[in-house]
Amino acid sequence: MKANPAGVLTGAHFFDGDYACAEGAIAAGCRFLAGYPITPSTEVAERITQRFPLVGGMFIQMEDEIASMAAVIGAAWGGLKSMTVTSGPGFSLMMENIGLAAMMEAPCVVVNVQRAGPSTGLPTMVGQADIMQARWGSHGDYAIIALAPNSPQEAFNHAITCFNLSEKYRVPVLFMMDEVIGHMTEKVVIPPADRIEVVPRTLTAKKPGQYRPYDAAGGWVPEMIQAGDGYNIHTTGLTHDERGYPQMTAECQEKLIKRLTGKIRENASDIIMVDESNLDKADVVLVSYGITSRVAQAAVQQARKEGLRIGQVRLITIWPFPEKKIAELAGKIKGFVVPEINAGQISYEVERCAAGKCLTRHVPAYGGAVHDPGVIYDAFKEVLHAGKTQTVR
């Protein structure tokens, strides 16, 4: 359906990524935010506190990030589109209940404006080192969706995408911004509400008695209810059957985990968004995301000027990872160059999918600053001149 015009600030704005993200969430229909202050994400919550009172939203500043994530899941079950906003240290605390959200299949969005870690790290400075934590941070087998915007405009657009995906697949969706995107101010165009596609909270048409909360009816995603409508549902973080009842058996565990991971894996082509360019006849392909994808453009332009054939795959969806796309390219090119503001994360995924068919060259930056485009340019040259299948580190 189309966005509710009540919360949509149609027009051209000059916003930083944090504000744009807040506006995207409101346009998507988010009306609940529980959070705890943390740099560099706080401006999202601050914007929300200014905007929520007049659009019927609830902001509550909780006692910590553990409580924030728990409250977000509670609000999801009460029928609101809900979110929380944080950065690395808070993201670590949220892992417990991100697992609960995945297990209970509570639709929600977690924004992580990444700073450099580990621990307190560089609170006000950029990092992209929470990418693997986003995928694997909570214990046990589960799957989530994660997106990474590369501009304030995308922070607006894809905050909406995050909510839409969370409703469609009943899964926590992690919005992996980074400090530079969060604090960078650019033009953000908010279209009229009738041009914004929004997935509503869809409640089952079944009557109480016919409804089973975790019966996906042969599909991947069960229908949802909201508390207080008379369904008397039970939901738990324990391994559970279609009724939501705990079942302590390996058989029930297998069935549940297959569905929780399968609903993302088997729908990957519907979920994944990449921005690709110049892949035909490319010798080297740049794989990047977030702010790094923009910093790398200086290196790409320099290389093209010199006649090097550089293609690009820019990840908008990070998880699920575009395995097929990378595997397909690996057979045709000399190698991938993967700059990230970390010591190696998505590069491992690229290397895994390339499966030895071409080179993978990670270009690290350790946090606190974006790359010098020169090192990315050097990596293009290095890959072009390197041996056949060695991994260059």
Partner: protein, 305 residues
């Protein structure tokens, strides 16, 4: 697998509010939790509350399993997080009557921070804590409520830590209704739960309950019957007692009664009043009929989707 109990030809008097397909429950013989659940259900039946709008949230542990047996919308969450989950649930629909069932470890150790902050905000939640002085489900380890001197699996020579006085913790954090009974005080507990359900604000009811399997056995306190006799002989009813004075010592007197019952605006009352002052008529009071209409605009039925 334990055998299902043989049908006796009669329906359980509380079967409407229990998930009978999940009985038998996991609690040990002489455990106090079932008794507290029974009192809670009797209280529910005696209140005018709409049971469709009454939900139960629990964390982890023996008491955490209550949510699984009560036939209401029920949420079995993570360890210690029942209160923040319940906070989100309540704030997503203030028409809900949200009850939290928690054990002493769940509530006051791992969930202690959430407990005091929900009390501070006077969040409209009813919290029932079954305090058996121990972590039962994991095999009888020391809890923040274990009395000095009591033996547990992690204090084999006796507990040397000062325990929490939970009613005092709740009251001093801002709870507007605080009471304590033992699982022997059936009728009083039922009335208290009933009364707490009628109050707006953060209500806290502590129920001292026996754990014969891992607490009483290790401390040689006798059988389930002995434990009930102990409550009978050692409970002292003192309504309005200063919560400072209701500490519990090992096998000492247990002061019970209603300690606090005051009125104070809730989190939501404060918020609605504050925003109304700032924004006037432009502000739609959160939880009002008009607000519910706004909320429903973001929802569709699967039949239409």
């Amino acid at each position: 697998m334990p055998e299902k109990p043989r049908p006796c030809g009669e329906e359980h008097p509380r079967s409407k509010l229990l998930r009978m397909d999940r009985i038998p429950h996991i609690w040990c013989p002489t455990c106090g939790i079932g008794t507290v659940v029974n009192c809670f259900l009797e209280a529910l039946l005696a209140t005018p509350l709409n049971l469709k709008k009454t939900v139960i949230v629990s964390g982890i542990g023996c008491t955490g399993r209550v949510a699984g047996y009560v036939n209401l919308d029920s949420f079995h969450t993570t360890h210690g997080r029942a209160i923040p989950f319940a906070t989100g649930l309540y704030l997503s629909n203030p028409d809900l009557n949200v009850v939290v069932f928690s054990g002493d470890g769940d509530l006051s150790a791992i969930g202690g921070n959430h407990f005091i902050h929900a009390a501070r905000r006077n969040q409209n939640l009813k919290v029932i804590c079954v305090n058996n002085f121990i972590y039962g489900m994991t095999g009888g380890q020391m809890a923040p409520t274990t009395p000095v001197g009591a033996k547990t699996s992690t204090t084999p020579f006796g507990c040397f830590e000062h325990p929490f006085n939970l009613p005092h913790l709740a009251a001093s954090s801002g709870a507007t209704y605080v009471a304590r009974w033992t699982s022997l005080h059936l009728r009083r507990l039922k009335w208290t739960i009933q009364e707490a359900l009628s109050r707006r604000g953060f209500a806290f009811i502590e129920v001292i309950a026996p754990c014969s399997t891992v607490y009483a056995r290790r401390n040689k306190l006798g059988t389930g019957f002995d434990l009930m006799k102990f409550y009978k002989e050692n409970s002292v009813i003192r309504h309005g007692a200063d919560t400072k004075d209701v500490d519990i010592s090992f096998q000492g007197k247990i002061i019970v009664g209603k300690f606090v019952d005051v009125q104070k605006p809730t989190f939501l009352d404060q918020l609605n009043e504050g925003y109304s002052k700032v924004f006037g008529d432009k502000y739609v009071p959160y939880g009002s009929e008009k607000w519910h209409k706004m909320k429903s605009e973001f929802q569709v039925s699967a039949a239409k989707a």
